[in-house]
Point group: C2
Chain length 351, copies 2
Amino acid sequence: AGRFRASEHQHVRYNPLRDDWVLVSAHRVKRPWQGQLEKPPPEDVPRWDPKNPLCPGATRANGEVNPKYEGTFVFPNDFPALHPDAPEPDDSDHPLFRAAPAQGVCKVMCFHPWSDLTLPLMSLPEIRAVIDAWAELATELGASYPWVQIFENKGAMMGCSNPHPHCQVWASSFLPNEARLEDRTQRQHLSEHGVPMLLEYAEQEARRKERLVVENADWLVVVPYWATWPYQTLLLPRRHVCRLQDLSDSEKDSLASIMQRLLIKYDNLFEVSFPYSMGWHGAPTGAFLEEDCRHWQLHAHYYPPLLRSATVRKFMVGYEMLAQAQRDLTPEQAAERLRSLPEVHYKKRAE
Amino acid sequence: AGRFRASEHQHVRYNPLRDDWVLVSAHRVKRPWQGQLEKPPPEDVPRWDPKNPLCPGATRANGEVNPKYEGTFVFPNDFPALHPDAPEPDDSDHPLFRAAPAQGVCKVMCFHPWSDLTLPLMSLPEIRAVIDAWAELATELGASYPWVQIFENKGAMMGCSNPHPHCQVWASSFLPNEARLEDRTQRQHLSEHGVPMLLEYAEQEARRKERLVVENADWLVVVPYWATWPYQTLLLPRRHVCRLQDLSDSEKDSLASIMQRLLIKYDNLFEVSFPYSMGWHGAPTGAFLEEDCRHWQLHAHYYPPLLRSATVRKFMVGYEMLAQAQRDLTPEQAAERLRSLPEVHYKKRAE
Ligand SMILES: O=P(O)(O)O[C@H]1O[C@H](CO)[C@@H](O)[C@H](O)[C@H]1O
Ligand SMILES: O=P(O)(O)O[C@H]1O[C@H](CO)[C@@H](O)[C@H](O)[C@H]1O
């Protein structure tokens, strides 16, 4: 059958963080696409729209008026999935019908007063302000809640219903699935190998280089060996850091820089404001603050849906939902493509 | 904080088949939606189009000409994710960089010669022919492959690139993630409770009734207690059946009937050809045919994306990808809504 080449021959790869596998069938990107096309994002978002509830001075759904904020702005989600004091379900009467209590809070955080900006178009001090606000929220909500999920849905394709640059923070009284999973796999790795999984992984990737997208003294971004989404990336510190709130001042500056570089590359890939969902994972908080969390390593996941162009996405559907995620190009091909892109935003290039 | 009501108060529910949880925040469906709208499916699909590679008599990508088939028609996928004889990757040099071999075959199966039909618009004998073809493929490919994934992506929203009614079958040399997971949880349930999990679950749901959508002497369809997609359903036999190929003749007839009733209700929900991904899970095959698989119970999952209308879907994005699936109405509300819908297709109703 000839010699194995990852870019030609299907194989499966193991994801040690989720303890599952991805099917890599890189030859599949050659097939023609006659399916659904996505609408590119609007190009004419007004900088300030008094009807947009995320804008400075606008009135929100609950009647409150936003301050004329000039930096970041945090407020409670007007339609929260989690309330702090919901009554608790009764005890289950059967092991196949188990409910459990869930309490929490949901917040929204605007990145900037202007609606026509996105993170890759913001300045380093502006991005740094976002990172500071993230760390503050992680500390504040993490004082009592075991899990504080910071996430950004960017673009209508990712269910984002408002073009104003913003993210969300959902803090919960329980450890969500992904947190439990990463807690288990990282704990096991530390106990078996004596080093935190993602610290070892970052060291390996820094040396192997073929999946690197951008790096600096404190951080690196890779298309992980086990990526499922075509241009998925993992943002990792080089030092062992458990939580966002543990970052030093200079690490926050270098984080702003590497985020800006990554996000400019993303926008440059298809010359479109690149849609994704991203979010931070760090050691659990609340009661876990007293526990040994050395197996954890802070990281951010970026999950972008686009595959071929600004209008052709990857569909994670039938086989993926019922059997296993499948990808149509290798992580190494994706990394190389991203690596080779300029670090100047296509909208800012001199004509 | 008052008395708990599932339809008002957020809580989490346990999915015993996947060993994970879903956040139920049913009050969330009240929030207004200003995000992306989906394009409804085309209404003017020609019955026969010589340019459509799935049609009888049409030429496919590889140059082959389809027969003038009159029932179902199975052929090899021209752009398969799995080949039967791919070379195998080298042994991994590090536990965080693990690849493994993957072999398999991918087939496409047309349900009917006409492009303007879908399963809910087909007659019972036509649906029965599809079920027979499924059972044959499951037997044929299952003779050597441990997993034969039969799945249908219906609608452009679910990544389906051809309106002609069809499904796919991907058989693999490995057990995919979902298969491994359901194998583990069902095995554990049988060993702890002495009865197959989904057999016990079907008995419970038949008695509790609040999540039932349709039932007959051999089958029932429920919105599972732990459903993540808004109108997700689980199709279950009442008898202990390990695999599709174990169904009796009369069980295949009653399956055609219950599928037709379910799919007509789905179409009637928003008066649109209802998009979904669906697929069959049964006991593994190949070498597993010689092993004890009594913990398995045959079932089909239906995962439809729509939430509010023909054009407003549920987005499984930021929180869902990074933390945990979240749903905006209770499974009981979804089941009641589906239950109350007529069993005559809206396109066939007398004016
Ligand atoms: O094989 P198709 O129908 O072209 O492709 C569709 O189903 C596959 C299996 O679920 C997915 O991997 C693809 O992303 C999707 O577009
Ligand atoms: O809260 P939003 O932005 O209105 O809603 C969006 O993000 C949520 C969290 O990922 C999802 O549950 C919703 O489906 C999505 O539309």
